[in-house]
């Protein structure tokens, strides 16, 4: 136990101390800051690994009793209820801690080169370490008040990780923080209500049935918090804007990995630990999950900006996790958590790849890119693996987790209840979403890497090794997780968290991978044996016109068909006018009310004096009644 305390002390105190010190170092020591941050994150990773394998029963640790907060000699906190400073160290928390530290290391490795330029984000390394610290504390806190403190602080670091250099990016930063901050405020309401009705505010002590309206409101408030953080419909709209405008490592770090980990972590907590859900709430969660998948992927299809496209996919994939966790079975939970991990892997990989492309080409428009596969082979191979993985192509990890979720949905259909009877709807939404994901990633891959090379991009080179190493690591993990999913990954990583899993039907990911590998090898050997490589290349025949070099067939233009397709056309039009964006709608309403009040404030003195008298008279009337 004492060893665990030591580990915790290091994990919690090291990043914050280092973060604050780095904050005060001048920007010109950027290299040193970067290496220091990397060293700190590596140490945190090392201790989270030790913590994960340290064993010991899951349990609560009180910070006051353990002497954690007593380093001044006496505890100034002893007067308060000890529950405020309770840590929760169960397997789920340990697992998420491990992931948080792992992604921090990768991102910091990548940032060493990426962030090393003029007018890069100020205090970047300090912010990353503070984010790491806040995430670690969020995951560890058992007391909901401590939780909301760190959770809210994460919103601030998220805001600071976008550089508001022009009008669009500062608008995106503003929108992001308003939405995150709003959800935090709503969560405080939920926590307050929980405390009021149960008398507890510690996750480990709470078990609430969502039976009446007030409990339902508490649940909804907390759900909004987790949905906004993770980026699920209808609170997702900050994610694409953030992804488009923030530096790539920021997007890879927060919306792609850490916010997902934390949002889904909290969703798991509220669905499994805090509340006992009724069938109707499951129905609501599943509807929102399904809608998240479909709506976001439909929006992703029509994007021309690859960072925004990735941003919409970061939303769409959340739908799978929400669906998985909303099912409430062990299978669904494993699927949801596994998908969360997988998503963090490939989506941060994709954002890192987008950062490589942007730093080398200087554009984020798909139309201006093409044919980079020869010049940036490692980026290409990694992106291809990520893209196939996110689209759910076997044997990669995206397939494995989606497959478990599909199984979970089918299994869910055996139950009785409104949500259970509709299992086919959830299944088809998930499958269609997966197909559309593939469709939009064809656009991503072919638009950037395939096709004819653009004239302006001849000099583009592969990025430096410090930038491609993190991507390669992620790609290898994606493949490894996919191949060994059923054999090692699920039993080793997820069963300690969720309990043992029984799959329905036979599924052995390694065997499937073997089959796929065999078929690919067979294909290649046929190709070599029958000498299919000897074909003739020629100019395309376009009716006798000379084929100009600068004319290309942009993959993006194929997707215009979808945009103009019957019923979708007005829907896309409304979406682009932000009619479905909860942020813009509430903004309009707020400003309408504001104008209404402002119109009364014309600053004429007699009016002001009149209000005073009116107020006085009103008070008299109030008292007389």
């Amino acid at each position: 136990m004492n060893l665990i305390i030591t580990y915790l002390e290091i994990i919690i105190l090291l990043p914050v101390i280092a973060g604050v010190i780095l904050f005060f170092l001048p920007e010109k020591y950027r290299k040193i800051k970067s290496l220091a941050a990397l060293a700190v994150s590596l140490m945190v990773l090392y201790y989270t690994v030790k913590l994960y394998f340290s064993g010991g029963a899951p349990g609560q640790i009180n910070l006051i009793e353990t002497g954690f907060l007593n380093w001044l000699g006496t505890s100034y906190l002893s007067g308060s209820s000890g529950n405020f400073f309770m840590l929760n160290l169960d397997n789920l928390a340990r697992f998420i801690l491990l992931l948080v530290a792992f992604f921090s290391v990768l991102i910091l490795l990548y940032s060493y080169v990426y962030m090393d330029r003029k007018n890069a984000l100020r205090n970047y390394y300090s912010l990353i370490l503070l984010t790491l610290w806040a995430s670690v504390c969020t995951v560890l806190s058992d007391s909901l008040f401590m939780f909301i403190f760190f959770w809210g602080f994460l919103g601030l670091t998220l805001y600071k990780l976008i550089k508001g250099h022009d009008e669009e990016s500062s608008a995106a930063a503003k929108k992001t923080f308003i939405m995150i901050g709003a959800s935090d405020g709503i969560m405080i309401l939920g926590i307050g209500i929980l405390w009021k009705i149960t008398g507890h505010f510690n996750i480990s002590e709470l078990t609430v049935r969502t039976s009446d309206a007030i409990r339902f409101c508490a649940f909804l408030a907390l759900l909004i918090g987790s949905f906004t953080k993770a980026g699920a419909f209808p609170f997702h709209t900050w994610v694409p804007d953030f992804a488009k405008n923030a530096p790539a490592p920021s997007s890879a770090y927060l919306p792609a990995s850490l916010d997902k980990l934390l949002g889904i972590y909290f969703l798991t907590r509220i669905c499994n630990d805090i509340f006992i859900l009724s069938g109707w709430i499951r129905l609501v969660i599943l509807i929102l999950g399904g809608l998240t998948i479909i709506i976001a992927v439909m929006m992703a299809l029509i994007q021309h900006n690859y960072k925004k496209l990735l941003g919409y996919h970061a939303v769409s994939q959340v739908g799978y996790m929400v669906t998985g966790i909303g099912l409430g079975s062990v299978l669904g939970l494993v699927g949801g958590l596994f998908h969360m991990v997988n998503h963090a892997l490939y989506k941060s990989g994709l954002f890192l790849a987008s950062g490589c492309i942007e730093s080398k080409t200087g554009t984020d428009k798909l139309e201006k890119l093409g044919g980079l596969s020869r010049q940036m082979p490692i980026t290409f191979i990694c992106s291809l693996i990520f893209a196939l993985s996110i689209s759910g192509v076997p044997p990669l990890n995206g397939f494995a987790s989606k497959w478990i979720i599909y199984q979970g949905i089918i299994d869910f259909g055996k139950g009785t209840g409104m949500a259970n009877h509709l299992w086919i709807v959830w299944l088809s939404m998930a499958v269609i979403g997966s197909a559309l994901t593939l469709a939009s990633f064809i656009k991503f891959i072919s638009g950037i890497f395939l096709g004819r090379s653009r004239t302006g991009l001849k000099k583009v080179k592969e990025v430096s090794w410090m930038m491609w190493t993190p991507m390669l690591i992620l790609a290898l993990i994606c493949t490894g997780f996919g191949i060994f999913a059923s054999k090692w990954i699920i039993p080793a990583l997820f069963e300690p968290v969720t309990g043992s899993v029984t799959f329905i039907g036979v599924w052995d990911s390694s065997f499937i991978s073997l089959l796929i590998a065999v078929s690919i090898i067979l294909g290649i050997s046929f190709y070599l044996i029958f000498s299919m490589g000897r074909f003739r290349t020629d100019e395309s025949f376009i009716g006798g016109e000379t084929n100009r070099r600068d004319v290309g067939f942009e993959p993006t233009s194929f997707y215009e068909t979808i945009r103009n397709f019957g019923i979708l056309k007005p829907l896309y039009g409304w979406a682009e006018r932000k009619y479905f964006d909860i942020y813009d709608v509430s903004k309009i309403i707020t400003l309408k009310i504001s104008h209404l009040f402002s119109a009364a404030h014309n600053g004429i003195l007699s009016n002001l004096a009149f209000w005073v008298l009116a107020g006085l008279i009103f008070m008299f009337i109030f008292l007389l009644i």
Binding site: S78, F149, G152, F153, I178, L605, W611, V612, M619
Partner: protein, 513 residues
Amino acid sequence: MDQAIPVFVIIPLAASFLISIVGGRIGGFGKTISVLVFLSTLIIILTYLISGDHASMVYKIGGWEPVGNIPIGIYLLLDPFSGFMLIIINGMAFLSTVYSVNYITKYTGEKYFYTLFCIMVAGLNGVVLSGDLFNLYVFLEITVIASYALVAFGTEKEELEASFKYQVLGGMATALILFSVGMIYWYTKTLNIADITKILASSNDRMLIQFSELILIAGFGLKAAIMPFHGWLPDAHSSAPSPISAMLSGVVIKAAGLYVIFRLFFNMFAITWEISVLITAIGTLSMVVGVFLAIGQWDLKRLLAYHSISQMGYVIIGVGMGMMIIANGGNIALASLAITGGLFHLINHAVFKGLLFLNAGAIEYRLGTRDLNQMGGLFEKMPLTSGTSLAASMAISGIPPFNGFFSKLVIIIAAIQAKFYLLAALAVIVSIITLASFMKFQRYAFFNGTSQNYAKDGVREVPFFMSFSMLVMALLCLALSLLMIPAIRESFLQPAVDALLGNNEYFINLLNL
């Protein structure tokens, strides 16, 4: 220590006379003296609070002892609640004068500025110390007359108009307050607050008491600028020189308005359900309407001014809920929690709103404009202003780890615990809109476009003394979070709450029974 009580009034008052006489002859006299004066008063009150002795102290002016238990002189009383207010007043006054050292060079007539400033603070210190109703009114007038002049200090069209409105509405407030004081004097035949308490407790003329209560709410409501008595505030606070705006928003509306309301309704009148509901209702109205008015503004200081109305709403609902719980005979611990939230927010608001006005002043100092549309990209040029204003914006929007988060949290939690769910929800919604409007400020002032426009104009960070004040206040925004720690709360915030709740203690101290 009890002999030191009048010092809070005498030193600033003496300084103001000295400055007006000598200030013109010796360069730099005004600023040096006023900074030193507020530093010394701040140190005196801090030693009182840090000493841990929370007993109240009475100073009888002229040494007039009570005759047959009837107080016949003017009494000054220092109890933890007054001490709490004195820290805010003198601390803010100190930081504002330090800031003014550079800032006021924009204006002519430096010596008048410091003279008026010292008079204003002398009046404020008097208001929170006075144990005599009419004396309180006199100190209040000293404060507001100085502030009328300070609002008009720029002597441009806009400033004069604002000051005129402030004077007219302030005159109405004066009339109402004097009328009510007269009513109470006529009824009780005394002006000593404790004596009044004793007589009111044994009277049964509810109608008359309620009438004077309402008039007092309207009068001090005007001073505190709560809806619907807020008309003067947006003009006055936005036109005044920035350190004065910081004082007006951070201190004057609290010490001259809210302090008196809380003090009188807790310690002089008996708390009744109707009055509690009324106070909470106007607090809610201020909170909600103020924020909607603020978010539409493009004039930076006007935006901040409307937020003062809205944030005062938080303080009032915190304390008002406490009153409602007490009036209902509910749980005193819960009432204490709600009042703690209110007072905690009061001191937090003094710091962060003061800082925001100083930030606005810094921007105006360099750019010469308050229009958000004409700013942008200052993040690169004025990093300290940008950083400190972010801290203040986060504090007012209730984002951890800044102080506003904790006070709003306490208020919301107290509202839920007392089953005022609607109030809790409104507090959250207003907090969200506050966040939105400060994101607007951050975006348009510091980001949003390039700083190319100012490349030639020499826009750079403000001078040392301005930076110093802003930095100290930004650190305070973080440091005040420590008030949540039980050991610190017990010795600093809780005594103030207890002083409000334990109305007998005030009464006994003042009467010296």
